[in-house]
């Protein structure tokens, strides 16, 4: 418990508190008048209103589209299921800049929709909502589908034996068992969309602004720390409330449910209705998730002389003035992998210890800590980045330009995923097994190694892989943190995108494709070790 607490205090609590305090106490004096001013500003109300509204709409749309998907993944067995489950998770970890561009190609003028039906959705609310579905589809499929697959069909059968119709059995038996998972997934999607940044920036046009975007603007562009601090507090309050509700539903979900091996409940679809359902979901996945990804791949291959690997070759080219990069851009792949590996190590150690502590100790304080671990997901990257700058600036903790800061910031985002994945598995380990080991002479550490570790090894691998993929795609904090050496993949992608010329754009697409493939590969590796009692992700 001590290590994760120290980690969060030092690398999250302290920096964020420092930057917020700088804003709220500009001259060492609390300036609450400004807070009142900001909070009563109609623009603030408008921003908050839009933030909540789009998050609610995105959540509803995501649930509507992804719940049938959760069912399909839980109950049906079909060829390529593992691969597909990995693929639908790829968007979740892709940088938004890249995705935004793919979406514009599909939804904008002369986009696919425009050519087919004359529909244009760019810079409309629809583009934002669809992009949010694109990113969060996997959250629902994994959270809800994971549990759904483990629900004992025997219970529904029992209800039908007692005279309930198929629908009634589903409504009275399965739905109540599923409801907490649906609520938990909905809250996660709400949290992610509430704090949406990249999607809004790219697709929102100047019209749509969320709290997160406003915090970014006030901090990064205007350096209006007082206003940013008030907005940060506002966002914190909202996110904390969300997390509290989330924690409650998760706790309820961990109540007594009859769970069985997910492999046993899935079977081939039967009958026209089931095939139609499966087919419609596959079409949805193809249209909503795969098409944008395919656009990126297509563009990375579409060279001046037809399709080819020109842009990939350019990436690997030796650095010279023409490439504009101090190192071969392909080196960014190495940099990203290195950072992600360190970030994963930190996330797994901190998250694993936190999960172990949360398993063994109950109580209000510990539950609060559980929610606290999720806070970095709801905090603007610029707040953390600038917080690092002013908080960790004195020896021995002058970390401002240490390379370690990048993986540390990435680990902050990875830890919640590790905890969420490990917790249910660790909680499922019978305490008496540890006792059995103890009376046989194993010290607590030895007991953990001999009993817990073998049982959670797969969950640990899953958690590590997820943390790895998330670190790989992490962009927000990475750009704000000073680095001496080469850029990471997402940063390199945006550098290419930020310059005119065909070669630059093509290389950006090629790098994005590589990033996508690396993410997909690590997620696919996870699918192969997926535990039957996996956590939320």
């Amino acid at each position: 418990m001590a290590v994760p607490v120290a980690f969060f205090a030092l690398f999250f609590g302290y920096p964020v508190a420092a930057i917020v305090a700088r804003g709220l106490r500009p001259d060492g004096q609390w300036d609450l008048g400004h807070a009142r001013e900001v909070l009563t500003d109609p623009v603030t109300a408008q921003v908050v209103g839009f933030t909540v509204g789009q998050a609610a709409a995105s959540t509803a749309l995501t649930l509507a589209l992804a719940l049938p998907g959760a069912y399909v993944f839980a109950r049906f067995d079909f060829p390529g299921k593992r691969l597909l489950r990995a693929v639908v998770t790829v968007p979740f970890v892709l940088p938004t800049v890249v995705v935004g561009s793919a979406f514009l190609a599909l939804l904008g003028r002369d986009g696919l929709l425009d050519e087919a039906w004359g529909v244009r959705l760019d810079t409309s609310l629809w583009a934002i909502l669809l992009a949010h579905v694109f990113f969060n589809y996997a959250v629902v499929v994994r959270t809800v589908g994971g549990l759904w697959g483990q629900l004992d069909p025997g219970q529904e059968e029992a209800a039908r034996m007692l005279g309930a119709s198929r629908l009634a059995a589903w409504r009275r038996v399965t739905l109540p068992a599923l409801a907490p998972a649906v609520a938990a997934a909905a809250l996660m999607v709400f949290l992610f969309t509430f704090t949406s940044f990249g999607v809004i920036e790219v697709l929102g046009g100047a019209r749509y602004v969320t709290l997160e975007v406003e915090i970014y603007r006030q901090t990064a562009h205007f350096l209006d720390l007082p206003t940013a601090a008030v907005l940060t507090c506002l966002q914190f309050a909202a996110v904390t409330a969300l997390l509290a509700v989330h924690a409650r539903t998760v706790r309820r979900r961990e109540g007594a449910l009859r769970l069985v091996d997910a492999g046993r409940t899935a079977r081939r679809p039967r009958g026209a209705a089931q095939w139609t359902l499966l087919g419609s979901q596959l079409v949805l996945i193809a249209g909503l998730l795969l098409l944008p990804l395919a656009v990126l791949v297509e563009r990375s291959l579409a060279g001046p002389d037809g399709y080819g690997l020109d842009f990939y070759r350019a990436l690997a080219a030796a650095p010279d003035a023409a490439s504009g990069f101090a190192v071969a851009p392909l080196a960014a792949v190495g940099t990203s992998l290195r950072y992600a590996a360190v970030a994963t190590l930190i996330a797994v150690v901190v998250g694993g210890l936190a999960a172990a502590a949360l398993t063994r100790r109950a109580g209000r304080l510990v539950r609060g800590f559980d929610a606290l671990l999720m806070l970095p997901l709801g905090t603007s990257a610029v707040t953390v980045g600038f917080g690092f700058l002013i908080a960790l600036d004195e020896p021995p903790l002058d970390l401002r330009s240490a390379w370690l800061l990048v993986p540390l910031a990435q680990a902050l985002v990875g830890v919640p995923f590790v905890v969420r994945t490990m917790l249910p598995v660790l909680r499922a380990v019978d305490e008496r097994l540890r006792e059995a080991a103890a009376v046989l002479g194993a010290s607590p550490l030895r007991a953990w190694r001999e009993v817990d570790l073998p049982m959670v090894r797969r969950a640990l691998a899953v958690a590590a892989g997820f943390a790895f993929a998330v670190s790989l795609g992490e962009f927000g904090a990475t750009v704000f943190i000073a680095r001496g050496d080469e850029p990471t993949l997402p940063v390199a992608v945006t550098q290419f995108l930020g310059r005119a010329g065909e070669l630059n754009y093509g290389q950006a697409m090629a790098l994005s494709t590589i990033l996508m493939l690396v993410c997909a590969a690590s997620l696919l590796a996870l699918e192969c070790v997926r535990t039957h009692r996996a956590g939320e992700f």
Partner: protein, 346 residues
């Protein structure tokens, strides 16, 4: 010197006292069985001795040494859990060898000992089998072998046969008894089944609400339950309040004869079902006790007859198969003084 010596042991959960000043000693080589209904604190006693549950007051001495500050893994006791708690990711040999491995026993020596133990518990050659593939009885044997492997100074068994079916239980209890006698192991077991306890133990300790209600050999306990509670727990339902007056006691049923030398005064009266004699009802004014048969339960070699007594609560009688009355029949009821026990008042 006793292998285990517990004095004044007290454990509380929140407001509830699970163990309330328990004193208990187990001599070396002795098998003691703690018997009690669920919630009486018997499992807590084992966990406190094993060091898995912190103690609020009292002392635990193992081989004369106070183990208050010794963590569970250094106490050198064995504990066989109620549902065995075999390590699912290890095979049978891996489970049995666990205690040897953590003690740093060499591989070859450990392998030899595992083979020996598996033979001892009647599972020769099962070392490579997966735990999940074992039947309940086999799991129980593996759990026993695992607990025995490090040669613990004290072996504790928590409901060792609880989850097994009756036939297996009766066979295994005999095997266990023989095994412990042969190995000379000191054993402290807990169970809620008195027949299991009587079959297994040299001495039986009966617990109620965190305290020890009675301690003695199985025969002593069976013959002379220390209280109405113990009597009822042992399965005797013919327990009524009464007042001893010389050769008989006044009870709600009427007068019940007492064995010679029973001290007078308020008491509880226990009549074993075998000591209830049924006969042809005499004249209505004959003065003897009568009852009506309310139910019959066939028990193989005898029949248990439940009687609605003319006065007082129902009574149970054990009858030979052939002479058992039919339901609804009115019978005369008599008591055999040799099967009547005077207990302290409730």
């Amino acid at each position: 010197m006793a292998s285990l010596d517990v004095t004044g042991l007290t454990v509380r959960f929140g407001g509830h006292t699970a163990l309330d000043g328990v004193d208990l000693a187990v001599a070396e080589g002795e098998t003691v069985c703690v018997l009690g209904p669920s919630g009486s604190g018997k499992s807590t006693l084992l966990r406190a001795v094993a060091g898995l549950r912190p103690v609020d007051a009292g002392r635990v001495l193992l081989a004369g040494r106070d183990v208050a500050r010794v963590p569970a893994h250094r106490r050198g006791v064995g504990l066989m859990f109620q549902d065995h708690q075999l390590f699912p990711q290890r095979d049978v040999a891996g489970n049995v060898a666990f205690g040897l491995r953590v003690r740093g026993v060499g591989k070859a020596a450990a392998r030899e000992r595992v083979t020996e133990l598996l033979e001892l518990v009647g599972l020769p050659g099962a070392g490579r089998r997966a735990v999940a593939s074992l039947s309940g009885g086999e799991q129980q044997r593996v759990a026993l072998a695992r607990a025995l492997a490090p040669e613990p100074g004290l072996l504790m068994l928590d409901e060792p046969l609880g989850q097994l079916d009756r036939g297996l239980r009766e066979r295994l209890v005999v095997e266990l008894r023989q095994l412990f006698d042969r190995l000379g192991t000191t054993v402290l077991a807990v169970t809620h089944d008195h027949s299991e306890a009587f079959a297994l133990a040299d001495r039986v300790v009966i617990m109620a609400e965190g305290r020890i209600a009675q301690s003695g050999t199985p025969v002593q306990v069976w013959e002379r339950p220390a209280s109405p509670f113990v009597a009822r727990f042992l399965g005797f339902d013919n327990v009524v309040p009464g007042t001893a007056r010389g050769a008989a006691a006044d009870t709600p049923w009427g007068p019940v004869p007492l064995p010679p030398g029973t001290p007078p005064g308020p008491c509880s009266v226990l009549v074993r079902p075998a000591g209830v004699r049924l006969g042809e009802p005499r004249d209505a004014d004959g003065g003897g006790l009568t009852g009506t048969v309310a139910a019959r339960t066939f028990r193989g070699d005898h029949v248990v007859v439940l009687l609605d007594m003319a006065r007082g609560p129902r009574a149970e009688a054990a009858c030979p198969l052939r002479s058992a009355p039919e339901v609804g029949e009115r019978v005369a009821v008599g008591f055999d003084a040799a099967d009547v026990v005077r207990l302290p008042p409730a």
